[in-house]
């Protein structure tokens, strides 16, 4: 049962769970922001997995930084990265070198979990093999359906596409392949008539 209540939504909206230790040859854990707390809880359940764990932690865009605590957890490998984009090549290499039996855990924002899942899928893991637990910010990655650009950290609805400048409303329709929600032009029929931006994804 997810700790965060996202409310009722459509069938393509991702649903997250709770991290739990699974048998495996090694464990790749990627967390951001408040997700550090889920990692602490995971290791508390199964301290023996720490030795085979590769933990990657990214401070949250909202300022939450649990790096010190993460470094002290005792994972076999630990890395602190400033952003997902910066650590992506490392993650892709670990997945590429991995064997079946590698367990993947992602916890923190939807944006982080979505990108880990996307990269795990590209490496050949079934999408539901990645364990997820939502913690912290509800900010979204949103793809503008018009210019295809993805805007990170979207907290308001509507918002302005950071690539092409169109006013977009945010749908719950989600693509695992792109690891993004869909944004659609809100004032196409009545240009300029844009409702005030509401902070829906804090």
């Amino acid at each position: 049962m997810s700790k965060t209540d996202f409310g009722p939504s459509i069938k393509s909206r991702p649903v997250y769970g709770v991290l739990s230790p699974r048998p495996g040859s090694s464990h790749l854990i990627v967390a951001n922001g408040e997700g550090g707390a889920a990692v602490e809880a995971l290791f508390a359940q199964a301290p023996e997995m720490k030795a085979k764990a590769h933990l990657i932690y990214i401070p949250g865009a909202n300022g939450t930084d649990m790096s010190t605590a993460m470094a002290a957890l005792g994972a076999g490998q630990y890395n602190r990265a400033p952003t997902y984009a910066s650590v992506r090549s490392r993650i892709v290499k670990v997945l590429g070198d991995g064997h079946m039996g590698l367990q993947v855990y992602a916890t923190g924002t939807e944006s982080l979990m979505g990108q880990v899942q996307r990269d795990a899928m590209e490496a050949g893991l079934p999408h539901d093999a990645v364990q997820t637990e939502h913690r912290g910010s509800l900010a979204r990655r949103v793809q503008c359906v018009h210019c295809k650009g993805i805007t990170e950290n979207v907290t308001t609805d509507p918002f302005v596409c950071s690539h092409c400048g169109l006013n977009l409303f945010v749908r719950d329709h989600y693509s695992r392949r792109l690891a993004a929600f869909q944004g659609v032009n809100i004032d196409a029929e009545d240009p300029g008539e844009v409702p005030p931006a509401e902070e829906r994804f804090k």
Binding site: G96, H99, M100, G101, L102, A123
Partner: protein, 321 residues
């Protein structure tokens, strides 16, 4: 009746004794046309008229999917079964006309796989023969681990090694050879898909080992050739058609329903696909669930039955047919 397209009238052109337990049969279309193409892992349902008893048995297509001139199946003789395989071995001759279904695939390849790892036991080799031919033609990466009781019963082993070389690993129980499953599974690169087909016990062992090693369920695929077991005769009321039928010891419930002239949907005839699922209106006794389709709750609940493989013991069974 089968959900879907019409049966294919065929002529048997070859019957080959592969070993003491296995015969291979080749079918070509009676009208001389091409067979439908198929995907590796598919099976066909062969219709038999065994002295008035109509049987329909599914058999994996073992021939190359790229060869549309005919289909080939291999049948292992089971002397303790209902008699379908015995019929095939005893009665089917070259020149005989038969009816087979268009191919149906419940054991398909996941073509996204970076590598396909196949584990076969005994007659379970048959779907892999078609799949390897398909993968080889596509240039995809695969590996086969094939166990049989002994060299005599290791059908097609030499041919497979000759054709696919190092990708084929052979194990003979009688010579004390066994698959080192843990090592094998632990060493596979991320993105490998695992396929297993063979006796129930082997499938169970492979699935459990894979799960214990942390393989995700979505990367593990299995097919068990479930034949309807022989049992004790029982009586069934068909509420919708208003008939009461007796299911013979060597007859499946589905076959008995069909013999009574009542149409019932089916597809795989092996308890795996869900098509023949039938609602139970009344049940005084115990349903012997032999299928892989119903959930544990459904099996405990006595409101559902899969007539292709399951049986009943008790005073009364009423079905919605």
């Amino acid at each position: 009746m089968s959900v879907g397209a019409a049966k294919i009238p065929v002529v048997v052109t070859e019957v080959v004794e592969v070993n003491s337990l296995i015969k291979r049969f080749r079918f070509v279309r009676e009208d001389g046309g091409q067979m439908p193409g198929f995907s590796g892992g598919a099976h066909t349902v062969v219709e038999m008229d065994d002295a008035g008893t109509r049987r329909l048995n599914p058999y994996s297509l073992m021939s190359d999917p790229g060869d549309r001139s005919g289909y080939e199946i291999s049948v292992r003789r089971d002397d303790t079964g209902r008699g379908g395989s015995a019929y095939m071995h005893r009665e089917v001759r070259p020149g005989m006309k038969m009816l087979i279904s268009p191919p149906v695939n419940l054991f398909g390849l996941d073509l996204r796989a970076k590598k396909h790892l196949m584990i076969a036991g005994g007659i379970g080799i048959t779907p892999f023969l078609a799949q390897m031919a398909q993968l080889d033609a596509m240039g995809a990466r695969f590996e086969l681990h094939y166990a049989a009781r002994d060299r005599e019963l290791g059908a097609y082993m030499p041919e497979l090694s000759a054709r696919y070389g190092d990708r084929v690993h052979r194990y003979y129980d009688a010579e004390g050879q066994a698959i080192d499953l843990t090592t094998l599974l632990a060493g596979q690169p991320l993105g490998t898909h695992l396929y297993v087909c063979g006796p129930k016990g082997m499938i169970g062992w492979v699935l459990k080992t894979a799960a214990d090693l942390g393989w995700p369920a979505g990367a593990v695929h299995s097919e068990e050739f479930l034949a309807p077991p022989v049992g004790v005769p029982f009586t069934v009321e068909l509420a919708v058609s208003g008939k009461t039928i007796t299911v013979g010891a060597a007859q499946s419930l589905l076959e008995a329903i069909e013999a009574a002239g009542v149409d019932a949907p089916y597809l795989c005839r092996g308890g795996a696909c869900g098509q023949c699922e039938t609602h139970v209106i009344a049940c005084e006794g115990e349903i012997e669930h032999n299928d892989h389709w119903l959930t544990d709750d459904q099996k405990a609940g006595c409101r559902h039955i899969m007539p292709c493989v399951s049986r009943f013991k008790g005073a009364k069974l009423v079905l919605e047919r």
